[in-house]
Symmetry: C2
Subunit: 116 residues, 2 copies
DNA sequence: CCATTACTTCGACGACAGTCGTAGTATGGG
DNA sequence: CCCATACTACGACTGTCGTCGAAGTAATGG
């Protein structure tokens, strides 16, 4: 019987009203974090932490997820032993209209044209 | 007779095609540089380097102007002994649609609401 | 229970960005 | 000519960010 010994793992998310532009910019300035955002957009569905491609170690990736979550860019929740990630794109759009959308578009454009 | 002993001082500006998102994000992540951009927008006309308000020394401000110029965000030109600054907003809009516009709007929104 | 999987936490380290003050250079006026 | 003004260049310092590996914790399956 899967009787949880402790409370189910939860994750705290900021209300976007209390996130400021500085935090969002700092989150989006890192290329690895933009990769995460891009992959979420491209996939179009929630992704577990382990399924992202990035040129860094797992522990570093954990750090990047924390930064993204604290900046209000992603929402995270546990499903068993894996942790899922969603983009808070609509909320973000309301908080800073056009910003996330523009960054996503720019990422896609750079990935699309031959950038090597 | 104002005979120039040397060639008039010129300033180099990148073609926006050769500016990448990383550079622009790095330029816009600094709050002092966003202040510069905001003041240019608010003023609505070219401003000399000495007329900006920022909580840093003059030499630091010079550094910030360099970063903004190299990221393609501002255009600079000398008028006598002073150096003028313009926002390259239209070119930027073409290069990364919506990005600069969104950041400017976010700055204005934060400045507008009581943020202290 | 125990092992496995999936992610986190911690400390350490290296690199680099922002900052300053000082000294330097160019322009324009007396 | 010389000085004042406006900005720049340089070197030094500092704090912070991204990075890693090793050790830790939590759910799941046998």
């Amino acid at each position: 019987m899967a009787r949880p010994r402790t409370a189910p793992r939860t994750v705290d998310h900021p209300d976007l009203a209390q996130v400021d532009l500085q935090q969002v910019m700092e989150a989006l300035v890192d290329p690895v974090r933009r990769m995460v955002v891009s992959q979420l957009v491209r996939k179009g569905e929630d992704m577990s932490c382990g399924t992202f491609e990035a040129p860094v170690s797992t522990s570093t990736l954990t750090h990047h997820f924390n930064v993204l979550r604290e900046a209000g860019l992603i929402r995270q929740y546990y499903v068993g032993v894996t942790k899922m990630n969603t983009l808070r794109v609509d909320e973000m759009e309301e908080r800073f209209p056009g910003l996330l959308r523009a960054v996503i578009a720019a990422c896609a454009a750079e990935a699309g044209s031959g950038v090597d």
